[in-house]
Symmetry: C2
Subunit: 338 residues, 2 copies
DNA sequence: CACTGGCACTCCAGCAAGAGGAGTGCCAAA
DNA sequence: TTTGGCACTCCTCTTGCTGGAGTGCCAGTG
């Protein structure tokens, strides 16, 4: 149905349209790409491509524009991810190497990705669920007020304050701290509940309410903090979208403000492979004209979290995918070192 | 030079222009506001106002538009801050009362402010400099690796990892922790340096390098973390700016991405009073068409940090100022309670 | 002296008409 | 199967026009 030449034509259409932002006609195609055939032949191919839904005409007697389906085919079969140039790689490396702590790493990454791709960048903080515990600290703020501080292997810190049912001494607290840490340090969040469930039994009866409170808070923090944080950069790049602004940009900005939407954009699956979601595939009407390129990153083989960029469906997919992949790799390295 | 009626005319121009977004002419003014004079008289007044630089004409035979100077006069002498309605107040209260921790308070505040004013909201985290220390915690991650956790009275937590020059035992660490806390808990950041400067002398000679390292890290954290955090919301409201989008919105989005600029917008002074900065007063060419309304907030009489909104110079100043002031008060209360 | 009505003038916004051009689809021929 | 030719469509850009809103000025009035 679609022979090689038709695919070549589609590829050429996508490339030209991305470059010029204007519907591309048969004559221009024949000139710019040496396909070895005449405009008339290309027209025939285009007619077929249109019938199959890969391209469309804004109106009669205009050039063709790729549809979401066309971009999908392009991404799946016609595009080769474009590796970054050496200078670019070096720039990434040095820029990220200067980071001080986790916040800084994430902040630099998102800005880097935005400037590199000239699009909106999104980076998710290393997920707590898939992280392991480095340390649990307990502090008394007041006789019946305890603060729990959770430190993860990725350097993230979460805190929680609770009211103790009874005043508690430093001894008990130290004991509790030691026993909790003995059980959970190095363990994954998901496994903690099991590991501490019988901990209360080893304490005296009168101390149990306190222990129970602390454990409940710990588990609560683990569960609730699965709410993942994401950061954005490069929203100014949305202005490149087109000239018909208000209608186009507004819903996108609104969508970007909702972290829930952002997280869904990056994709919930743990799957670290690169994902390109095009136009309506985002399942969000405000983002019907945008595509998202996302990939997992992490220190090991498993993805800790995701990052990616969002741009118009008419984006430079090979270049964007190359940049996203490269940045993800470098961030993974940085995190592995620390 | 400017009698009362001319001021009335200016006020009417500002109000109408803000409401309609269109240059306002003498006839429309005479109809909508009962100034008791004819359009011709108003025209004369307008001529004077224009000569003095308070209003301007986009082009001959168009209505008048307030200039920055005109808005300034309006804000300083003609506008009464509009208090919020009871339902609005209640909504604020209940929305903010649901907050769990500091992050949540700040996050809710900024979203609230954005929806309330229909503009871009900016909230600065309670400043560390002006905060006091609630607790300093020291943890050993590895024999020669120490983590320092700093907890402030506003619930903010900062952490820092350091390498110890020598392995250190739990005893020393506990001792050090106790002595540091004894000195600094409840103290303001700015005073800490003095309070701990002679702390090393009370330790054995061989322990001093470690103590010195810890103290250096503590001070370092205090200094470096003065870098203040700000959060944004409501950027989608920028699309209300006007119809000539790309040119207008782009530089604004760019400016908003730079935290340095944001912080300057809120104003560096500790001064908690409400500040309105109009157009060019922002000293930032990308923000020449925007105004910023900011105010300090805090639990006591002194401002811990600032919050505000940014919108087009043609904004509803009385309403915006009312909303900003109200939100600042409620946030202050919430922080005082916790 | 301040205010008012009248009047001529300016200049933008919006619409209609027309020219130009890019692109298509179809068909007959190679 | 490919190609050149040709008629047709329909957008875009320019031009010209008109209506209207608004102004500035001036002479008249309380």
């Amino acid at each position: 149905m679609l022979d090689d030449r038709k695919l070549d034509v589609l590829r050429a259409i996508v490339q030209d349209y991305v470059a010029t932002q204007e519907p591309v006609g048969s004559k221009a195609l024949a000139e710019r790409h040496n396909l070895g055939v005449s405009p008339a032949t290309i027209r025939n191919d285009m007619a077929v491509l249109e019938e199959e839904g890969y391209i469309a005409q804004p109106h009669t007697s205009a050039g063709r524009v790729p549809t979401d389906k066309g971009y999908r085919l392009f991404v799946d079969r016609l595009a080769n991810i474009k590796p970054l140039s050496m200078p670019e790689r070096r720039a990434i490396q040095t820029f990220l190497d200067g980071a001080l702590d986790l916040d800084d790493v994430v902040g630099r990454t998102v800005r880097l990705l935005a400037t590199l791709t000239h699009q909106v960048a999104v980076v998710q903080y290393p997920s707590l669920t898939r992280s392991t515990i480095r340390h649990v600290e307990l502090l008394t703020l007041a006789p019946t007020r305890i603060m729990l501080v959770l430190i993860t292997n990725t350097g993230r810190v979460e805190q929680r304050v609770m009211d103790s049912p009874a005043p508690l001494g430093e001894n008990l607290l130290a004991d509790l701290r030691a026993r909790i840490n003995a059980r959970v340090v190095g363990k994954r969040f998901a496994d903690v509940a099991l590991l501490v469930q019988d901990l209360g039994e080893s304490f005296h009866a009168e101390e149990r309410p306190i222990v129970t409170t602390v454990l409940a808070t710990l588990l609560d923090a683990l569960v609730e903090q699965q709410e993942e944080r994401v950061v954005l950069a490069g929203t100014a790049n949305l202005t490149r979208f087109g000239t018909d602004f208000p209608m186009t940009i507004r819903p996108v900005l609104e969508a970007l403000e909702e972290h829930v939407v952002l997280l869904r954009l990056l994709g919930e699956s743990t799957e670290p492979a690169m994902v390109v979601r095009i136009g309506h595939e985002n399942m969000h009407e405000g983002l019907a004209a945008t595509s998202v390129v996302s990939v997992g990153y992490g220190s090991g083989d498993e993805a800790l979290a995701k990052l990616g960029v969002l741009g118009p469906t008419r984006m430079d997919y090979p270049g964007t995918m190359g940049a996203v992949r490269a940045v993800a790799r470098y961030v993974g390295q940085i995190l592995a070192e620390s």
